[in-house]
Structures are given as C-alpha cells and as structure tokens.
C-alpha cells in the first residue's frame, strides 16, 4: 500500500534529510568554572555531516558514548544544536517543529518504557493522532496502523495492556504509534537490542517492509555491525561525535578504510572464525567526549599510527597535527582519515 505524500511537501530532488556541520554540546557540572576554561563540557556531536535519502535504510554505528543517540535526538528536534543545520526536503528546521515531528518519528530501544503501562494499545497508538490533531476516523486510523505494524487482526489488540503483550508485540505497538502519523522518516534507536534474538528478525523485517512498500526512510542506530549488514543500504560509523566513515554497507563492512571501523569489525563475534578471539583489540583510553584529542581524534588509539603504517605513507605528522575531514575515497565511500586518503587501499581485507 502506498501512502500519498502530504500536499504541502513537493518532490525535492536532494536527500530527504541533510545534516551539515552539526554540533551538540552538553555543559559540565561546574558550569561557571568550565565556561572560563572551555573544559568539562561534553562535545557529544562534534561536526557531523550526514544525508538520508528517500526510502533509504542508513545504519549509524559506534560504541556507547560516541554520540549516536544524541545525534538521533538532535534529528528528532529533542535537543537543540549549538551550531550547524538540519534540512528536511531542502528546508532548514525552523522554530515550529510540529509539522516536521509528525513526519519524523522515533522508535526506542525499550518498548516497555516507551508505552504507558496503564494505557491500552488503542490509546497508545491514538495518542499521536490526538496530539497532532490528525483528521479522520480515529479508530479506523488506529486499526490500520496496527495492521501495518503486523498486529493482525487489530481488534484482538485494541483493548490489551502492554503487560499482556510479548516484547516483540510491544515494539510493534510502538511502531504502529509512529506509523499512524504517516511519517516519512523513522529514527530507530537500537530497536531490537532489548528483544530476544529470534524475535529481532521479525521487527527488522517489518522495518524493511515499510521502506519497500511505503518508501519510508529509516535511520537505525545500532552498536551491532552484523545487524547493519543485514538491513542497511549504507553504514555511517561514528567516533567521538564525528562520522569517521560512511558509504555503501558492502564497501564499509567488507573494505573499511578507517582504522576505527576495522577495529569495530574485529570485535564482532565471528562464528566461522575460531581465531577471531585472537584479533588485536584497541588499546588506550575509552572515548570520552569531554576530552576529545586534538588533531585526528582517533590518533592516540590508532593502530595504523602505532604500527608505522601512517609513517610509511608519510601522514603520521598530519595524524598528530590536523583534524581530518570526511573525504571521498571511492564513489560514495568517505572516510575521515589521513592514511585512507593517502593510500586508498591501506585497509583492504585480505
């Protein structure tokens, strides 16, 4: 079933969502002292450039504390950026976010926390319709949303409470609440990490179906690169507030150009490789957004700098002096790494 686009949004040739040089900073606890010293505040999102196409599934990956959830929240308009712009269909977000928020809906990690335990499924799904004063037959809209989220027949679920549902069904109710508003974008923050492995697949398949049938764009925030492999068209890897590598899923995960992406891939459990536990691990301090290193933010932990590959390519000076920009390595595949730029085949998987 295809959904007619709202009349006020004409077709826009560029990406649906464009993020340009976005910065989000959280003040530290000792505000006055730190403002003076410019220390202690956390640069959670520190200059992010990213685009999301119509009907695209983009995975945003990284460790805890890399800023991926803050970036998702900034896209939702829940946190105000200090600097930079977010454009939706070519128009920068203004003060009035109501119309935008209807079109960009969020799905959270914990469906149990996202649902009011005293509210029936009907009321949970209808809530958004009421907030946004969506015209039409409310019950019909709720039923349709439930059916689209795979809760069939919807009558069976309308009067149930969250505790009467399984984890997978709860997440479907959350998704139905989003779908009721006919969004163009779903931002899903670790949507399956609280679900059992065998149920994960059905939620992910549901998201893929929404993209296929309704051309909904999906930004999926995940720490799990294997999950990204199975659902995403493109993968963006985030480290300390910055996108350090982005490109088609196959390119990024099979031929990573940034040493950080390589390191993340090395810790993905690989059942087919008994030696995978012997792969080297990243050393050094875990990333701390209150203390982002100068120059390349990854250089104090970078294995390619430590083992001399950077020196061999004569970029080691740059690694310690210049903040690398996200630059194209091959078509559509970008990395923020001096070495990757200098030697585009440095990190090929053997």
């Amino acid at each position: 079933m295809s959904v007619p686009l709202p009349a006020d949004v004409a077709e826009h040739p560029g990406p649906l969502l464009r993020i340009d040089d976005l910065h989000v900073t959280f003040a530290g606890r000792h505000r006055v002292l730190e403002r003076r010293a410019h220390q202690g505040s956390a640069r959670a999102v520190d200059g992010v450039d990213l685009e999301l196409g119509e009907g695209e599934v983009l995975a945003l990956a990284g460790e805890s504390g890399c800023g991926k959830t803050t970036l998702a929240r900034a896209i939702m308009g829940f946190v105000r950026p200090d600097r930079g712009t977010i454009e939706f269909r070519g128009k920068p977000l203004g003060k009035d976010l109501r119309a935008y928020r209807r079109q960009v809906q969020m799905v959270y990690q914990d469906p149990t926390g996202a649902l009011n335990p005293r509210q029936t499924v009907y009321d949970s799904v209808a809530e958004g319709l009421r907030i946004h004063k969506v015209p039409g037959d409310e019950e019909e809209l709720v039923r349709r949303a439930l059916a689209r989220a795979g809760l069939r027949p919807p009558e069976r679920f309308l009067l149930r409470f969250p505790h009467e549902l399984s984890g997978g069904q709860r997440q479907r109710v959350v998704i139905a609440g989003a779908l009721a508003l006919e969004p163009r974008v779903i931002v899903a923050d670790e949507p399956v990490s609280n679900l059992d492995a065998s149920v994960r697949g059905e939620i992910l398949r549901l998201l893929l179906r929404l993209r296929r049938e309704d051309r909904i764009s999906i930004l999926i925030v995940t720490h799990d690169l294997a999950l990204a492999w199975s659902v995403a068209d493109r993968v963006a890897v985030m480290y300390l507030g910055r996108i350090v590598e982005v490109g088609p899923t196959r390119d990024v995960l099979l031929e990573p150009r940034h040493p950080y992406t390589r390191a993340l891939l090395d810790v993905v459990p690989d059942a087919n490789d008994a030696e995978s536990l012997d792969r080297p691990l990243l050393t050094g301090e875990p990333p701390d957004p209150t203390r982002i290193p100068e120059a390349c933010r990854f250089h104090p932990r970078c294995p390619a700098l430590a083992d001399g590959r950077a020196a061999e390519a004569r970029v080691d000076g740059a690694c310690r002096a210049d903040d690398p920009r996200l630059e194209p390595i091959v078509a559509g595949h970008l990395a923020a790494c001096h070495l990757a730029t200098a030697r585009s085949d440095a990190f090929r998987v053997p």
Binding site: S198, E202, S230, V267, P269, L281
Partner: protein, 328 residues
Amino acid sequence: MSVLEVSDLSVSYATREGPVPAVRGVSFDIDRGQVLGLAGESGCGKSTIGLGLLRLLPRGTEMRGRVMLDGADVLAMAPSELGAVRWTQASIVFQGAQHALDPVIRVGDQIEEAILAHRPVSRRDAAGRAAELLELVGLPARRTRDFPNEFSGGQKQRVMIAMALACDPDLVIADEPTTALDVMVQAQVLRLLKNLQTELGLSMLFITHDLSVLAQVADRLAVMYAGRIVEEGPAADVFASPVHPYTMALAGAFPRIGDESFVQAPGGLEGDPPDPRDLPTGCSFHPRCSRVMERCRTVDPPSFAAGADRRAECLLLEDAGATESVPT
C-alpha cells in the same frame, strides 16, 4: 572425566497458580577443562539451570533429577555441605554482576571476605591473594584499595570474575557475563574469560542468548527451548550445520558480515516462545516450526542421535532413520 553430570533435571517454580515447569528433564555433562555453551531465548530455562546447579533458586522451587558435582549430588546436600561447595567447587558470574558489589566496601576487602569464608588462611594471605586475583583479571594490584564506584562497568565485571576465581573452583558458571557491556568492553571480557579458562584449565558453563559468542568460546553447545535441551553437540558442528529447526532459526538471527544470504534478509522466526504454564501439546516448538508435520502436534519427540556425538529432539531425525539416544 566429568566435573558436572546433570541427569534428568526438572525445576518447577512455586507460584500462586501452582507449580510452573521451567526446566523439564534436562541431561548434560561438562568434562574437565571444557566449556559448555547453553543458549536460548529468555524464559527457556537456561538461567534457572545455572542457579539451580548451586541451589540458588527461591524457596519452594521444586528440583528433581541428579546434579553430580565432582561426584557428589548437589540436590541431596545438607545446607552446610552446600555452603562449602559454593565458591570452592563452583562459582557464578552473573549478568550485570557489577551491581552485586557492595558500594561502601573496598573491592579488595570484598574479595578477601570471600576467601576467608571458605579457606583457613590469614587475613594477610587473603589480602595477598586478592591483589594477585586482580592482576590475573588484568587490573593493577593497587586497585584493591578502591571502591566499586571507581571502576568502569567492564572493570567491575573483571572484579566479579576475580571473585568467582577466589577459591579455585573447578566449575565456573557464567550467566550472560558480557551482555550488559559495550561492544569493545564485551570483546575484552570475553577474551579474558577465554584466556583464564585455557590457562587455569577451568570447566565452564557459559549461558547466553548470543549464539555467535558461544561459537567462539564453547567446546560444546546445548540449545534450550521451553525447558528442554533440543539440540546438543560440538559447538562448531552445531553452529555450522544445525539439525533442529529451532537451532536453525536461532542461528539465522545472527547475521554474518559478508554472508550474502543475510543481505536485506534478517533471519529469526515469527511468534513468541510459549508460556511455560500453557505449553503446546506434542513438540513444544511445533507452533513456530517451519517444518512442522502432523505428528509433531501430538508426539513429544525424544532425543535422537544426530551424527557423531550429537543429539536433537526432533521427529525429522526419526524420519531420517536416526536412533533414539540414551542419555548418559
């Protein structure tokens, strides 16, 4: 020789509505120095087994069968004997064990307490052992003087591992030991556990929902569904060529990067695990099974031999001519 021999273990929780079966006739062995991985969805009974082996389940829980730990039946032990077995013969590392540390006692003192409670040693020796244990898990010895809040999540899990090893147990039960940790930290803790297991020759029961982790650390793999072990065998074989449709579906839920069959096709199975109070008739997996046959709705499948050193509870094996395997 087996460190642990579990035969026909059943566990029922006492509830207001009557007993609820969580584990229904489970048998397995763990040989010395071997890691058995126990996998399955939440509610399948895997954590109940982990806790039940040391009789750490709530009062009123009914346990039947035999749990032979180093030749002695845990289920027949008096409370005093049980106290002696815990820590010295078998210990547990929990998921989110970080929260098990007492926030107002120095970490070193907490490890010492565990040692002093079970070993006839001086406080001085116990302190020395605590420092040694921290170094064993990759933390500096001086950190015995720190309080739990001075440790990160991964470091606290290391402390819990140190504590589990304090009295040189033969068997370590690790229940989702890396689940709540971030990806990099998870990899570190996993490597630590695997290294310790190899160096110290530990026997281990490694319980997790994450099949891909088990394929890395386990020698043998047992897959649980609705209180039963539905498939068991050498970890590499079970992962590479599962025979039970449930194991196949579970393995399909863990995409492998580079495997084209997963592209735009996240695996897994539809539906939810059954309610233990209201199990389906016949094979309890039949309502979700992609290869269900008419008989599956009525016949509860016994265990069949499924190749060298492997077994599975599925009627498909009977059709393929497999013989019933007798539990050891």
